[in-house]
Point group: C2
């Protein structure tokens, strides 16, 4: 399912900083998606100096893409007028599953021609720099933590609401990537243990994703329509498959079923967030991705967020109720490359600390 | 509810190391419980050199106890024949809730006369050393991680099954203590979102603790007996209230309801563990506490563990199924003071790294 980006209605937060004001060393971040590869040059504070996007053209294979990533990094360096030697480390984010220890991209669903490719080392070779490799949801979380919605906090949980539900957990300098690359898989938190629980794209029953992923929102809508609930969406469905944007638009227009579906999504999401808060007790929970019903500043998005807070608060441990912090992400689609660059910086700093 | 320690049937793992073989510096660990305060002197590898226990005598108040903790630390140093200057830092674990930033013990249920006491600084004064303060479940987790069931791993989740369900999460040098002292509260992971979900001691519906705490196991047993299920426990209940040990003993003796309750506990616990594994993806999940039905080497305990693994495995992300590691804790009641000492060591090392 393709999510129309307009559903997110995210402002583009990219505000370039000039090289004159940047703090060196600099870091390049690469975020590989199914359609585009985003490449940014980022300074020591997470500010973007230059940005460039290239089509993924996945069918040309990963070797070709790795070569183009190397060229793209060269291009953002040139674009920013930076010196080659100021860019010391590169961050690379891709969809999972991946093997962080070997730097292998394993079997990503949306990149079938790229399976089992040693992407970290190949990109490193083309960039002529060490590469810090990460899962894209984790990189996005680190990006928001470093220079977005989490930048004033010590710890943060990011939930990315899209086709699926992804996540990233950061506590201080520790990004929870997991012993087997499956840390922060917040979409697989269980929220329903009943025998008739919904199933997610991996056929797992009762997961957060099975209720809050884009396909789940559409699925719940279809179920309600099948049950004969009146809605303006009946007409839409007579012509084509319903999309999350249809649900969002109908809710905005006052369709009561659509509104119910949106607020029900908040109730399901709340169950996952309650569990995550009691597990991590982060300073803040941050919501990103297209399925935020417009997000910050948008009436439906704000109502969704308020419903979520209202559902979560009373079910928390007493001492957590007053300090509850749930907000929208701030970096939009830039979080991935900025976070990848941030992780590259972290690795660079840690290596330099250890080596001295 | 008091849990008879015999339910755990844990061997005492304390093997003293002599001062001659110990690695300096040394660390003292203090674990404050409702009945006893355990104090140990531990070397740089987590090995116990000397151990001493004093009655909590909570009614004498926290100031009196803090003074006796100071004397107790002096005693274990003397007992081990160590030099005062070799013991550089003290770790202190107490039940929560507590405020780590100020070192205040807040409102612990089992220490009503100790509420809002600045325990970290008072103990520090009496020990004449810096004190690293921690929640007891978190300290126990760090103890198991440092020198028990997790000692070969980089990351570990400990679940302590007792009257309630506690926990501790360690990833590398990061112990997830939370932004507000409520990190690793694994007993508050949600496992049941149905309207008739059981409630825990804090009246929260559907939490792991509401199904797997000692009172929950007894509650589920009583419910089954009320529903007319035949069981040898009917006779016990005619005379007095059923305890978890009764359920455990009846299960061992072949009582089918009691066996069902034990295996059902494993099924409920599995739901919480699936969520924790997808959130943290630790190298290992470790089970401690009295409610492990005999624990390692005991037929019922081993059956409980096997049932748990069988319930968890098929519901994990594919790449995690083969690497699943769930085991019993190894340090028994020593985990708390050893972990407190270990956290003191970590703080000592981090301070020394930062200061240089």
């Amino acid at each position: 399912m393709n999510l129309p980006t307009s559903l997110a209605k995210m402002p583009d937060p990219k505000q370039y900083v000039s090289l004159r004001d940047a703090e060196t060393p600099l870091f390049a971040g690469i975020d590989v998606g199914g359609t585009n590869i985003k490449i940014g040059l980022v300074d020591c504070q997470g500010r973007t100096l230059a940005y460039h996007t290239i089509p993924t053209e996945a069918e040309r294979g990963p070797e070709d893409a790795a070569e183009r990533m190397g060229a793209g990094v060269g291009q953002v360096i040139k674009q920013a007028g930076a010196a080659e030697q100021d860019v010391v480390h590169v961050g690379l984010a891709t969809p999972g599953p991946l093997d962080l220890s070997t730097g292998m991209l394993l079997t990503p669903g949306n990149l079938p021609d790229w399976w089992n490719f040693p992407i970290r080392d190949r990109v490193s070779q083309h960039c002529r720099r060490p590469v810090r490799y990460a899962n894209d949801a984790n990189a996005a979380a680190y990006g928001e933590y470093w220079s977005g919605a989490g930048s004033e906090f010590h710890s943060m949980v990011l939930l990315t609401l899209g086709t699926g539900v992804g996540g990233g957990i950061v506590v201080g300098d520790t990004l929870i990537e997991g012993a087997h690359g499956c840390g922060s898989e917040c979409g697989h938190v269980l929220i329903d243990s009943s025998p008739d629980a919904r199933r997610d794209s991996l056929d797992k029953a009762g997961s957060l994703e099975a209720y809050c992923g884009a396909y789940a929102v559409v699925g719940r809508t279809n179920d309600a329509l099948d049950a004969g609930r009146p809605s303006s969406l009946t007409e839409v469905r007579a012509e084509r498959e319903i999309t999350p944007l249809d649900v969002s638009n109908a809710a905005e227009a006052g369709d009561s079923l659509a509104r119910e579906i949106v607020l029900e999504t908040a109730r399901y999401l709340a169950l996952g967030i309650i569990t995550l808060i009691h597990t991590i007790d982060p300073d803040s929970v941050v919501l990103g991705g297209a399925m935020t019903f417009g997000g910050a500043g948008h009436p439906l998005g704000e109502e969704f967020l308020q419903q979520l807070r209202d559902e979560v608060r009373p079910r928390l441990l007493h001492s957590l109720q007053e300090v509850l912090q749930i907000d929208f992400a701030q970096l939009g689609g830039d979080a991935g490359y900025i976070g990848a660059a941030g992780l590259a910086r972290l690795e660079y700093l840690q290596k330099n600390t250890t080596d001295r």
